[in-house]
């Protein structure tokens, strides 16, 4: 039986008012501006844009402020906002080969044209707390060098020239869109990549890590990792040509995996691919590893029954908004549900005890009747 329950409005209003006060914190401490979050917590902003599936640094910063730094809550806010926007169309596929690279490293080729550009990285820092940051102070200006004029080529091009890596088939097929049609299985690589790029960083990281530890034979080299800005081109119907409608920062990771060959393919390297909004390299590398693991069927590899090879498992559990929605709903009132559970347990116990000790059932029954009932 479903019993409609009303009440709690005043408590809810007061809880939200207190939330606003707690969000602000100590009034003697200056309030954080959205611009400060956007500029100084940029990697958090990137994560919210990537998993929120909407590139807008100001909105992501606002969401982080509103969510008090709870990243999944912030992502939830962005996802909800995203659904209110009319969609004007889609972009041309971005040309990551033309990226203005802030960072570009390869773990496979030391002397690749374009070189190893470290960029603003945490790598090689000592991971010692820097107490200078606790005090205000000027930041010394970064050094400058002489950049190369031509675009930086993709590393996999070099392997491609020798035919040593599986070619990426050219296609202009319209990709499916998870945000428009529900995911159906078996899916395909474009849909998997969309799910992974908006998937939870922690989940995708753990799945990728599991492949490294041996759950799916998938030893990956980072062929290339690049971070920088690319232009976004979109066809404008009223003009009849495409213009750049903006510029976004992306992280791209291409992994190179050994492949023993199959009945139809010679031994060669295969690819895993990661592409994520913003400077988000842990996510991009993770995405590439999981992408590669999920390709086992098309490559004719063995089913190792590894979690990261299980498309259904990965795709249905990677979305942290779906996950948290289902998880957190169990804290909301289930009084009536639980009432029936309680009745059932009492009944089962009565029956079990009656069966075990035929003469003693009555007194036990009386005791349970005096226990407090679950309130509405």
């Amino acid at each position: 039986m479903y019993v409609a329950v009303k009440g709690g409005e005043r408590a809810i209003d007061n809880a939200h008012a207190w939330l606003a006060e707690e969000r602000r914190g100590d009034l003697d401490v200056a309030e954080l501006s959205v611009a400060q979050i956007r500029e100084q917590l940029r990697l958090a902003v990137n994560r919210v844009m990537g998993e929120g599936s909407l590139y807008d640094p100001d909105l992501a910063a606002l969401a982080i402020k509103q969510a008090r730094g709870d990243m999944i809550e912030a992502i939830f806010l962005i996802r909800a906002y995203r659904t209110t926007l009319p969609r004007f169309g889609h972009s041309e596929p971005v040309d990551t080969g033309a990226m203005a690279c802030d960072r570009r490293v390869s773990a496979t080729f030391k002397d690749a044209p374009g070189g190893q550009i470290l960029g603003p990285t945490f790598d090689y820092t000592h991971r010692l707390l820097d107490f200078k940051l606790a005090a205000e102070g000027d930041v010394p200006e970064a050094a400058v060098g002489t950049p190369r004029a031509e675009p930086t080529p993709h590393i996999t091009e070099f392997l491609n020239q020798e035919g040593l890596i599986q070619a990426e088939p050219e296609s202009e097929a319209t990709p499916g869109d998870l945000t428009r049609e529900p995911l159906e299985l078996p899916s395909n690589r474009p849909l998997r990549l969309q799910a992974l790029t908006r998937g939870d960083e922690g989940f995708v990281l753990s799945m990728a890590y599991s492949t490294q530890r041996g759950y799916a034979r998938n030893h990956a080299f980072v062929g290339e990792l690049r971070i920088g800005k690319v232009a976004v081109e979109m066809d404008i119907p009223e003009l009849g040509f495409a213009i750049e409608v903006g510029e976004i920062e992306l992280t791209e990771c291409e992994t190179v995996n050994q492949f023993q060959g199959s009945k139809t393919e010679p031994p060669q390297f295969t690819r895993g691919y990661g592409l994520v909004f913003g400077q988000s390299e842990r996510k991009a590398i993770s995405m590439a590893l999981v992408d590669r693991a999920l390709r086992w069927k098309e490559l004719g590899e063995d089913d190792m029954s590894a979690p990261a090879q299980d498309e259904e498992f990965v795709l249905y559990h990677s979305d942290n908004i779906q996950a948290t929605g289902f998880l957190e709903h169990i804290k909301l009132p289930h009084y009536v549900d639980f009432q029936s559970e309680l009745e059932l347990i009492r009944k089962l116990r009565r029956e079990a005890e009656a069966a075990a000790q035929p003469g003693d059932a009555k007194s036990r029954d009386d005791a349970s009747a005096t226990s407090p009932e679950a309130a509405e």
Binding site: D56, G89, G119, T156, T179, A231, G246, E247
Partner: protein
């Protein structure tokens, strides 16, 4: 500094320009042409696509916010604004610049708005590229014993 810009070029420049740069240049132009909205500014999104492996089949990466509008000057010229983000005022300025660039004011608008914007865009790009270049690794090989 010279800038060769076709319509695609100036619309792309306007789309990417930070409002903090565009607004003062537009205001300094001191033009307020009469116009009618064909499409009032509206905020929306476009689905950004990538390619598998950087070169293969397209997939949907995620959306980005854009704002668009269309207007018609009193002389009949139509201007379109398509700009990144959610700033309706920026879309209006972009559409006005687009319209004026098709008329006799084009040279002045180009000189006073587009050329400075293009310069700022190029400078910002060059500055990042120079900082990136300074982080390029120069490998050197240690002299090993067997070479002696």
């Amino acid at each position: 500094m010279t800038v060769e810009l076709d319509r695609r070029g100036w619309m792309s420049l306007l789309a990417k320009a930070p409002m903090a740069e565009l607004a003062p240049l537009w205001r300094a132009l001191n033009m307020s042409p009469e116009f009618q909205w064909l499409r009032a500014p509206e905020v929306g999104a476009t689905m950004v696509r990538g390619r598998m492996g950087g070169t293969g089949a397209p997939f949907n990466l995620g959306e980005m916010t854009i704002t668009r509008c269309s207007l018609q000057l009193d002389d009949g010229v139509v201007g379109h604004g398509y700009v990144q983000g959610r700033d309706k005022e920026k879309a209006r300025m972009a559409a006005l610049v687009d319209a004026l660039m098709q008329g006799e004011m084009a040279d002045r608008v180009c000189r006073d708005v587009l050329v400075p914007l293009a310069g700022a865009f190029r400078d910002a790009k060059a500055e990042r590229a120079a900082k990136a270049a300074a982080t390029k690794v120069d490998f050197f090989t240690m002299v090993r014993g067997e070479d002696k």
